[in-house]
Every structure is written in C-alpha cells, then in structure tokens.
C-alpha cells in the first residue's frame, strides 16, 4: 500500500471541501485509477477539467504510483 498526500487547489477545494487529505492505495496503481477513486468520492470532479501532479511534476494518467507520494489536482490556471 502507498500512503498518498492529496492536495486540491482553486475551485476543486469547493468540491472536496478540503485542501489536502491522506489516501491509501495499492502499490503501482496508475494515476487514472486514483482519479476514478477520487471521482467516485467527489462526483462533481467528473464534470471539471483538472491536471494531476505526482511528486510535484505533471503526470500522465497511465503513470503508476510507486511510492508514498504527494499528488495534486490542479484546475485550469488563472494567474495574472
């Protein structure tokens, strides 16, 4: 099992009601699977666009999560 620290930003915090949470998953779970788990916990996540980082680097959906990691869900950026 991997112990994940999941961070939510911007409008996603309105959906999750929190900015971070802990989450346990099987070793080698791909990002795409984690997204399905989170989207079933927070159904409105399915309706919005977001990117995912794995240990602070943008990650593709098929990347497997191989360690205790920091995962972040980032909605479209709106700086400036």
């Amino acid at each position: 099992m991997n112990e994940l620290n999941i961070l939510y930003f911007g409008m996603l915090t309105d959906i999750t009601g929190c900015q971070k949470e802990s989450f346990q998953i099987e070793g080698n779970t791909p990002i795409s699977e984690l997204k399905i788990l989170l989207e079933s916990k927070y159904p409105p996540l399915k309706e919005v666009e977001y990117k995912t980082t794995y240990n602070r680097t943008l990650a593709d959906d098929n990347l497997p999560i191989t360690d205790d990691a920091e995962i972040a869900l980032l909605p479209p950026f709106s700086g400036g």
Binding site: F9, R56, F77, S78, G79
Partner: protein, 148 residues
Amino acid sequence: MKKKKKVFVQGAIAPEFIAESIAKHQTKTTIGAHDIFLGQVRADEIDGKTVQAIEYTTYEEVAENALHEIREATFEKFTGLTCMHIYHSLGTVKAGEICLFVFVSSGHRTEAFEACQYLVERIKKEVAVFGKEIFEDNSYTWKENTPA
C-alpha cells in the same frame, strides 16, 4: 542551471517597487529598451456583482519549477535579452492594484516587446496560480483566464 528567483510576493505590487526595479537597471548601459507588463485587478461585473479583490493561491514549488523553465526557454529563444524579472502576487489584491509585473530588457526594442509578450502568455497558461474573485458581499467566483 541558474538559481530559481523569487517570484511570489504577498499582496499587491507597489508602483514604488516597480520604480526601484527600473532604477536598478540604470547601471546596465548595454540596455536600450525595457518592456514592462503589469496585470491589474479589474472590478469586473459578474451576474450583477462587482469584483472587489482577487485572492491568489499557488502550488508554489510546481509554479516555481514552471517559471524557471519558462525563464530559461525565453533566454534561449531571445538571445539578445539582458534581464528578465517576474513578480506575481499571492493573497489579496484589490481592484485597481497590480498583481503581475513582468520586466524584460534588451539592447533593442523588438526583442524586449516579443519576449515580454511571450512570457506573459506562458505565465498565464503554465503557472499554477489560482485566482478567486471576491465580491462586495464576500461571495466569490473562480477566475478564468481568457486565451490571448
């Protein structure tokens, strides 16, 4: 690899800070042109309510990595650049105040113009900053950036 420069500042960017940045470049006498972009918070009306302020948050390490990469790419693309400075606010910036300061200097004008615009587009698109537009009744909406 150059060291990562401090980009994020708490609250609005003061005009005096901009003046100091300009003044610091007066010893660099190969510079002939500066282009400065300033983003200012608009009091947009949205569904009958007026934006009073934007509250900015960031995923700081991820944003700084992106900024570092953007900076390096800009120096590579515009080889005549002398300097480049980027500052972005975090926290609350009121309508009329400045939240983004991009400052590019070069020997001649065309590179300064092109590099500045290139930087601003990439910053808006690629840097993990989130703006929450706050209305007078403390309700809010999440800011969306328009494409250039």
